[in-house]
Amino acid sequence: MRLLIACDDSGSIKELICNKNTNTSVQTAPQPFHVGTHLPEGFDSRVEIIKMVGTQQLLVARANGSIHLIKLKRVDRDVSETDPAKEPIFQVSELHEASTVGGLFDEARLLSIHKSSKKRSRPRDGFVALELVPQTSNRIFSATKSGLVHVLSIENGELKLVSSNSVKAPLEFAQVYDLAAAQKTNSKHRASSQLTFAYGGEENLVKIAHFTSGYKTVKQIWEAKNVSNDRLDLKVPVWPTKLKFLEPASAGADEGKVNFQFVTMNRLGFFRQYRTLTGRKPMLSKALLPKNEFATQLQAINSDVTPAGNIRSSSFDNLQFITSDLKKNVFSFTAASGPLGKYGNGDITGYASFLNIQKNYLLQGGLDRYVRVFDPESRAMICKCYTGSKISSVVMVEEEEIEVPQLKENKKRKPKHGDDKAEAEEDEELWSTLESSAKKLKKN
């Protein structure tokens, strides 16, 4: 498989080529075939999000407030120094920067909010979303923690800023709604080609908004309501961290009404289900984590998902998700039964800042500097590689295995028939001596 990894420490993108069962922590296990470092720009310009656009282009959001369009080119690997017959054959990628748009951050907005925030560290602006606008191939949606939402376009291989709008900050997520294609086919629903997205963050309730008049303005169409006060009549903190849309409910749909269904993960470990037709409060709010532990991710694993991670199902039942906390746990859960089991079997030692399902594999990377690939259903680890750097994003480009040439020396020789006989005799001898010594012991 071929992975592209955003490495924080050097601000680079690494290409990792390996097969299944690769494990760099075990010397005897298969090791990665190739680790190539591309476009290092330092920690301050580290890559926060990587997105593939087609097979030849890459969108990269960096922590200095710029979005880059990068061209991928495959070249044959240089095997001139080694024996080509013994080496696996594969191509490596070359990354070339094609175009850049910068200045997409506004840190001043975050600084004013920071005083009331529960986060202790000085806030730094960063990207929370980078997606292709659904049903287009050249429009890009991006959102920042400071509440700026940008639409960019790719024209003749160049990135251009189409519009910049602001919504209420701070943002923890901005989730694009890309289930509209399915919605369109259903005549009951409003045919929506608009770019709709949901956002929210610390003390910023989940809101749904869409772009109007050709991406020029953003109009909020729905806002959630906080859950009721707790049993001490205290306000429950608002802090959604991730949101995934489901297909809208068909029963009882009214054309004029906003019709969305979605699930959210709350920083305090609450999993919530919303149906906008039923009301602004969640239909279900379930605590998953013990007190004082924070949840950060949300991914559906047993359902078909769209490129943006939304769920192609209109029913909340039987959905299985994965999430991670701020410590080191990555676990799957269902709304009905709660946590099901952990990934990694204690192998993950740092916060998993990246979790995503791509091509039916769960990709995990984080502060412990390892990239891991899991089977989402069985929770078995497929691959583990040390990257030398904290990871903030991973993309699986290819899942195909690379053929390793079988060397003649490696093939096991078949044991000869004569050897079997000798072995049997040896065994006999051993047994007889053991039996005699056992008798002696009994006597004693």
């Binding site: 560290s121 502060l367 412990d368 500097r369 030398g388």
Partner: protein
């Protein structure tokens, strides 16, 4: 001894026999060693060869393979700049305790004031959150915040928070030996000490080593001849302070200044105690030969 020969039913006789055999073996061994020493005195190459061949297996030498040990540290310069605040400021440390600290914590603070350079001790007051303390420190150009954790009248931990943006380290403190209890101890002077960091090998170990590097100024006063050693062995970090004395042109003596204590990294967090980068858990102790620093 084979089981057949052990048919002596009298216990005392049996013990006598065993002692005889043991004594005989000891004598043989001593004789062999004496002989070997004699041979090796005449031919020192033999000793070298023997020492090369017979290397003792220790838990340290049998440690579980860790791929991060000889891996190049990525983004070393950025990491360096982060810890040394771009090399522009000398370290300036604020030392405080946990809320409602007892006498032991203040006594330990007195010891740390002598050890840490450019340190200010501030008594911890009620009602200030960590976020506010960090802000206070950052505004006054402090580079590190050190918090002594005391529990049930014992100093149990030390928290190091690098300012302004972390990371945060939490160490367990054990085996504290007071200066007065060290026989033949010297008196420390206010010279900036030299620093010896031993055996920090893995990527995590490098980060911990870098923390200590950044805490002590880079320009030691050599005339003070004081050395602080932080020796890592099996993830325990031993703190020792010595003064070296040149006895003559060949011999160097050491005088311990104290105190002695042992630290163990329990947690490393990103930022000001936010996302966990590494945390010690009880099941890590199951594997005796796996070390993390």
């Amino acid at each position: 001894m084979a089981p057949d020969e052990l048919r002596i039913r009298n216990k005392m006789k049996r013990q006598e026999l065993f002692a005889d055999v043991k004594d005989q073996k000891n004598k043989e061994r001593h004789k062999m060693r004496k002989q070997r020493a004699k041979e090796e005195r005449e031919n020192p190459e033999l000793k070298e060869k023997r020492l090369q061949e017979n290397v003792t297996n220790t838990i340290d030498s049998l440690r579980v393979y860790d791929e991060t040990i000889h891996h190049e540290v990525e983004g070393d310069e950025a990491d360096f700049a982060q810890f040394f605040n771009n090399g522009t400021e000398p370290p300036k440390i604020l030392l405080t305790t946990n809320v409602n600290a007892k006498k032991k914590a203040y006594e330990f603070a007195n010891v740390l004031i002598e050890i840490l350079p450019n340190v200010t001790f501030v008594k911890r007051k009620f009602g200030y959150k960590l976020k506010e303390i960090v802000e206070f420190c950052s505004n006054r150009n402090y580079t590190d915040l050190v918090i002594i954790n005391e529990d049930k009248k014992k100093v149990t931990g030390l928290t190091f928070i690098h300012l302004p943006e972390g990371p945060s380290f939490y160490f367990k403190i054990s085996s504290y030996v007071d200066v007065q209890k060290i026989v033949g101890h010297g008196r420390a002077t206010s010279h900036i000490p030299e620093l010896i960091l031993n055996n920090f090998q893995t990527r995590l170990g490098n980060t911990v080593g870098r923390l200590f590097q950044s805490i002590f100024p880079k320009n030691p006063d050599f005339e003070g001849r004081q050395v602080i050693t932080l020796h890592n062995q099996r993830d325990y970090i031993f703190f020792r302070r010595h003064r070296y004395v040149f006895r003559n042109e060949e011999k160097v003596g050491l005088q311990e200044l104290g105190p002695q204590f042992t630290m163990k990294l329990l947690r490393l967090q990103h930022g000001i105690k936010e996302e966990t980068e590494w945390e010690h858990t009880a099941d890590m102790d199951k594997e005796k030969k796996k070390f993390y620093l």
